[in-house]
């Protein structure tokens, strides 16, 4: 009985901790998954499913014939085509002031972006970083490809 109580307390404590740590780095949510898509986080790898949270520092990888769509908490829409590597290098968004920063790294593949509230607030708040360029989004819709 005592053991059960201790166990349930620690489960509650662990889930509270999990909730708070998710809230701190929470960047958005996976909405669309086609084919095989993984989220790399803290050295591990998860299968991406619709509804899964996306956190700052996550890396998303899409396989051949695969794609993924993400909605960030500032309403930015990010979607990546096949054989893509997308890193959420930096994400911060204050839902009251709309201040913050989004740095999305596209290492390879294709990315389609519809910018959200961050880009309306400040011209340098939303950037896409590729091996050759730094792109600054000024409230807009655009596509990026990184190819060898």
């Amino acid at each position: 009985m005592m053991n059960q109580i201790v166990r349930s307390i620690s489960v509650v404590a662990a889930s509270l901790f999990a909730l708070s740590s998710v809230a701190a780095d929470d960047a958005g949510q996976i909405k669309v998954v086609n084919g095989s898509v993984t989220i790399e986080r803290d050295g591990g790898s998860l299968t991406a499913v619709p509804g899964a949270r996306v956190l700052q520092s996550d890396t998303l990888r899409t396989g051949a014939n695969s794609s993924v769509g993400i909605t960030l908490t500032d309403n930015t829409l990010l979607s990546a085509g096949p054989d893509s590597v997308l890193v959420l290098e930096r994400y911060a968004f204050n839902s009251t002031t709309h201040q913050g920063q989004l740095d999305a790294g596209l290492r390879r593949g294709t990315l389609s972006m519809v910018s959200g509230k961050l880009a309306k607030q400040s011209p340098d708040a939303v950037r896409v970083i590729t091996p050759a360029t730094v792109l600054g989004a000024r409230g807009t819709e655009f596509h990026v490809q990184v190819a060898d």
Partner: protein, 205 residues
Amino acid sequence: MNNSVRAGILVLIVAALAACTAPPPAPSTPKTLVVLVPQSGGSVGAVSVKTKQGEALIDRPYASATAAGGAPVIGNSSPSQVQQVFGAAINARPQPPVSYTLNFLEGRDEYTPESRAVFETILSELGKRPTADIAVIGHTDRVGALEYNDRLSLQRTDRVRADLIKRGVPERSISVAGRGEREPLVATADEVPEPRNRRVEINIR
């Protein structure tokens, strides 16, 4: 120091500077292509393109820029090229977020008759979005004290949350906040009744 030593030092400095400013050998940098497209509303924004060798701005529909280690090169793309290169990424784009407003009777957490119909529209929209994140934000007009209106705005969000849950919306997908009289839709003097400010915004992502 004699002149020939001076000249020698100068040559070394110039050589060192030249080494610093020479473009790095970057044949292996993968090529970046960026294409600006009109937004669904028809407006076109702009994208700044920065590389180590230069900077450019694209601000016309289907303007493109390419770069692979050198300065960006401006060009033109087309809807058919966009579809060919980016079709899969575009097809994976999530539905754009939508917002609704529910209005309330004065001093109460009861919907206006019109807003009852809006509530049904919200439910049908949620039916199309299985992974919806729902932010419910309550507001009041400026009749009454600040603290009273903070409580009233939360009563209104709680009402909306309870009604959503009653109709099968998962509780964990709903977040609520009360802003009281701080963010009026229509600016008024204090203590002025304003129906448009008695509202709950529902942002669905």
